[in-house]
Subunit: 357 residues, 2 copies
């Protein structure tokens, strides 16, 4: 697939294989800790996986960063969202003032939120915590024309990679969470997920921020029409992104690729960030080994997307907010899992008798 | 039922009804916060429930305490556990040195662990973080005689109530987690759960710390024999505790009762602490409104016990360690839920447009 990619960065995406030695050493240590073997269930699996991702038998979490990437969507003209487009810019300001759900949950788990303007329909002054790197103020209405040009699709992925790299090189990143904001972006995500999982639009389209029945029907019809109009190529992730994507989704795919390249575990949030992960996975299938699924959203396409990548969500709390809120909660669990490896005593250290034979 | 209880404390157990006004105010505030209504799913339900329990529309969590109560079980003579009895005393020392799973996860969520010796087969010197209040060094072998006298059963519940009250009166408790330690205590919990849920022993008995198939069969047979021998009265929780209980289970039931009396939410851990919650619930059905189920353990009886009390676990991570480890993880989620209420901005405050009509 790489021959179809023109960008210099994209041509050089190489994701390292998991470190099976580190993973095995982590499992051996888990089995010597003062608890019945395997009794911490998925926390133990998670700890061993993180060890394999990071290449550290006793993984240090380090700095936790959630990238909440925002952009607008021309397709809102078709009446596919319960909220007006103005909410995207207003919510970005809310993120920067610390009053949104993602701010509360990120603070709770000790993670930093970095907000990215990938293409919001509105201008922001320079502000702390905001990376201003707009492609343009919202995608085109994909019901009429491709959401963005193919060149813009490449730019979004590369911009995501560069943003990750800049932040990583400045202060390090030990764990990254994906977050999104963009009125209309469940429509783009449904289109992407339908194409990349081979599912029917009806089966994977949901109410987003809260559509009623009639509006949900209209949303499904709009997406079906869009897919008939553009016929995105399921074997070419950039074609899909170009025709039915969103700027924030391309950025998040790029962040995922760049994180996996550097062995940084990526915590996927809900439906939109999972659509971004699908794009990244189609560009480079090895990224899948660096993904942790935080939760199962109530958007019906989310479970399908996760299953396609063989990811098991950690939480199932009927959430559907996005922003990275599920990723933040899961970060707390991932860090807990790693602390099991770093802080628990072994049977020997604690002088505790082992299981009788 | 109260006429059967002799203890002065137990005679006076009165649990306040939930504060529906506080709960409603919390729900109204949740609906005004900058997110689609209901989009934080169970976190929102949890926040409203805690508001109703505490009687505070914007609930403050305060000091978080996990009581990890330890005791030994005479029934281990019957070969019902994969680990030797010596592990109970050794693990208590491990708790006090901070090297056990519960220590790691409690630190992670900022909770204090208070260890209680309710009847460990071994002596401890005075140590920080340990409450020494032993009934005696382990229950009798319930395969031969009642695990404890009826008077001791009452003492355990009252001791739990007193311990909670002492700690509460000294530094306050805003959220309490239940934890257990005791080799053999899944056997007692299976017996209690079978009686109080009306289930077959086979259906609710599991491998505990890791029994093989033949040993699991023996454990089931032992419990069936015990129940035939003593015929505990399912309508009399103290009769059940007296004949097939454990000291730590009685203490945990008492802690639950005392917490509910003071409007303190109780986070139940796995199978053993849920057996304790069943006892408390049978003594005073209103305690149920103050319970939060942290996770679903792999012990097969756990789901049955939770269902009997109509509790939905927050997490399902294949855990089976006990000690309060699941309660600790869930504490992080409960606190996150409350922070949504205390820290998120409303639409008005943030200047964000509401849903289109």
């Amino acid at each position: 697939m790489k021959d179809r990619l023109h960008g210099v960065l994209l041509m050089n995406v190489e994701v390292p294989t998991l470190d099976r030695v580190a993973e095995k050493k982590a499992r051996q240590r888990l089995d010597r800790l003062t608890k019945p073997q395997g009794s911490l269930g998925r926390l133990e699996d998670l700890a061993a996986q993180i060890a394999g991702m990071k290449g550290q038998p006793v993984p240090q979490i380090g700095r936790k960063v959630i990238f909440t990437v925002a952009a607008d969507h021309g397709v809102v003209e078709e009446g596919v969202s319960a909220y007006p487009q103005s909410v995207t810019v207003q919510m970005v300001l809310n993120f920067l003032r610390g009053g949104a759900g993602i701010n509360v949950l990120a603070r709770h788990v000790g993670a930093e939120v970095i907000v990215v303007d990938a293409g919001v329909a509105g201008e922001f002054p320079p502000m702390d915590g905001l990376i201003r790197r707009k492609i343009r103020p919202g995608t085109a209405n994909m019901a009429k024309e491709p959401a963005m040009t193919r060149s813009e699709a490449e730019q979004t992925v590369e911009a995501g990679m560069q943003i990750f790299t800049q932040v990583y090189e400045k202060g390090g990143i030990g764990l990254v969470g994906l977050g999104d904001m963009g009125i209309g972006n469940t429509t783009a995500s449904s289109a992407i997920t339908a194409v990349l999982t081979g599912s029917s639009v009806r089966a994977i389209t949901g109410r987003g921020t809260g559509l009623e029945d009639a509006a949900l029907d209209r949303k499904v019809q709009v997406i079906e029409r869009v897919l008939q109009l553009h016929r995105p190529d399921p074997d070419d992730a950039l074609d899909v992104l170009h025709k039915v994507g969103g700027f924030e989704i391309g950025y998040l795919a790029g962040i995922t690729l760049a994180a996996a390249q550097r062995r940084v575990p990526v915590i996927v949030d809900g439906f939109i960030t999972t659509a971004a992960a699908l794009i990244a996975w189609r560009i480079c299938p090895e990224v899948r080994h660096y993904l942790v699924a935080s939760h199962r959203s109530v958007e019906p396409g989310h479970a399908t997307a996760l299953k396609t990548m063989e990811l098991q969500p950690l939480l199932d709390l009927r959430m559907r907010l996005g922003e990275g809120t599920g990723a933040a909660l899961a970060m707390g669990l991932v860090e807990a899992a790693c602390k099991i490896l770093t802080e628990m005593a072994t049977f020997d250290e604690a002088g505790v008798d082992e299981k009788a034979e």
